[in-house]
Amino acid sequence: MITLKNINKYYRQGDHRFHVLHDININIAQGELVAIIGESGSGKSTLINIIGFLDDDFEGTYFYQNHPIHDYTRKQFSSLRNQNVGFVFQNFKLLRESTVADNVALPLLYAGKRRKEIGTRVSEVLKQVGLAGYENQLPKNMSGGQQQRVSIARAISTHPKFLIADEPTGALDTETSQEIMNLFKHLNREEGTTIIMVTHDPHVAEQCDRVIKIIDGRVVSDSKDGERNANN
């Protein structure tokens, strides 16, 4: 589904150019639950932003279901994001002044859905993440775990092909983290949603099918390769 070839990424800071990602080559298939781990500053967030069509400024080729993403315009990226990816962020990134229902409805609105359809879909996904009946709450009055559930509900509302989660448990305690992880695992197993997450929590990473480790912008290990190597 996702094929990254020789991805290089530079950050410009004044006259300096930082080489953040070095020749990244990754293939991710439908239905995988992937964890990308690494130290802070290793470039894992940068990588996941590229995978999630958030960052279009990179070198190399990126084929998503045979679409040449590297050639797409900014507008095409918007609809691609809307229809294919769901995002879960470390700090939830919810509209704090809008209700839970409005937050979850946001991607559906931009997809051009009708209000009636949106209403049913919103209740559906809220039930799925265990927040049935929370439609009219404000995110600012909810706990971190609940907010993250809202954000997951928002991410899956458009039936995306894959989920991108940047440190989804980073702001949560161990118990809540586990709840969120269970939710992810459930989505992956029952719904077949591909999930790619960045984490530096080893406990979270070990629950994933596949772990990709990045150090200083280079892929140093990939458990799938390991399996493959082992099989060979």
Binding site: L54, D55, K75, K93, L94, G112
Partner: protein
Amino acid sequence: MQIIELFKSAIQSLKANKKRSFLTIIGIMIGIAAVIAILGIGDGITKTMYDKFGNNAKQGQQTTEIAYNPDNVNSTVNGFTQEQLTDINTQFGGEIKNAEIEQESDNISTHADIGDTTKNVTLSLLKKPTHSVSLVAGKNFTKNDLEIGEANALMSEKVAKRQYGSAQNAIGTTVTANNVTYTVTGVYKSQEQFTDDGNQNSYGVDLLLPKSVYYQGDSAKEGNTLKLTFSQGTNASAISRKVAKYLKKNSPAATQGSYQYLDMEKALKQFSSQMSIITTFISFIAAISLFIAGIGVMNMMYISVSERTQEIGIRLAVGATPFNIMMQFLVEAVILTLTGGLLGFLCGAGLAHLLAPLLSSAIGGGGIHIHAHISLDAFLLAFGTSAAVGLVFGILPARQAANKNLIDILR
């Protein structure tokens, strides 16, 4: 994204910052209100003038008058006779709907012999008895009096007192006007020359005489004022001018006086064009406040964009296109200015209606009452201008919002 959702979310965002939105709206409101009030009063003045002095175009037909002024004030020559009426009808029959010699009955200025002295007086003629005057001495006209055609007259208290010392003394004296001698049978309380709504008061005159007696014999068919009626759409002014010119050449009375057509329409056109120059100029000055308000809108939108960076990021991340984001902020700006514009229109209209009467009393009455006139054009102007202000001053902040770098926001 559906348009209705765009408006809903824009209103929601504006509500989230009530005070700021309110202040921005007030700015626009003041600007629009100033322009509308000035235009309303300006239009009102022009319209009042037309209503008062125009060719009565609003009644579906137009009327003009040609007046004959004899050179010798005491002359009894009449400018218009039946003969001339036929003449005019044959000459201009196709263009004029109707021509008639007007027998004025209200507020006629003429000479009259009151007792021994000849005086300039104003008088009104009555066909029916009136209760609009209150008698201080003698008795009022009865229906019978007027039908029989008794040469009786009513005199105003003011004239009676000046001439005879008291109202009672005037009863039984005589007044001679238009070669008829009348006996004063009553004296009435003097009235103002103008009514409260600014029209001439036909009872605010020196004498009231029976119409059937005043216009007798030849004078019943002759007069010094010709009233022409035209169909709607004809050029009444031009034809009336032609008629006046024709009369000057061909009428036997032209040697002893002059025919005059006072072209009010032409004067009014000049007046209204001058008026519109003045209103435009003042509106232009008022529009400066609108410009400043526009800058206020821009300022607010810039602040809003930078405050809501996170929101923009979230929206972009879940699939909003840059165009969606731009529209959202643009719609917010336009909603602000339109609300201000419509409120401003209402305030301006109210202000104009409030100021116009003050203005007419400042002019000193003179029988002219100015009513503000708010036209549909003014409404469209307010609507259009405020929308345009929103677009013009909203576009830059909106574009800034749309072009924000998603990665920078989300980092």
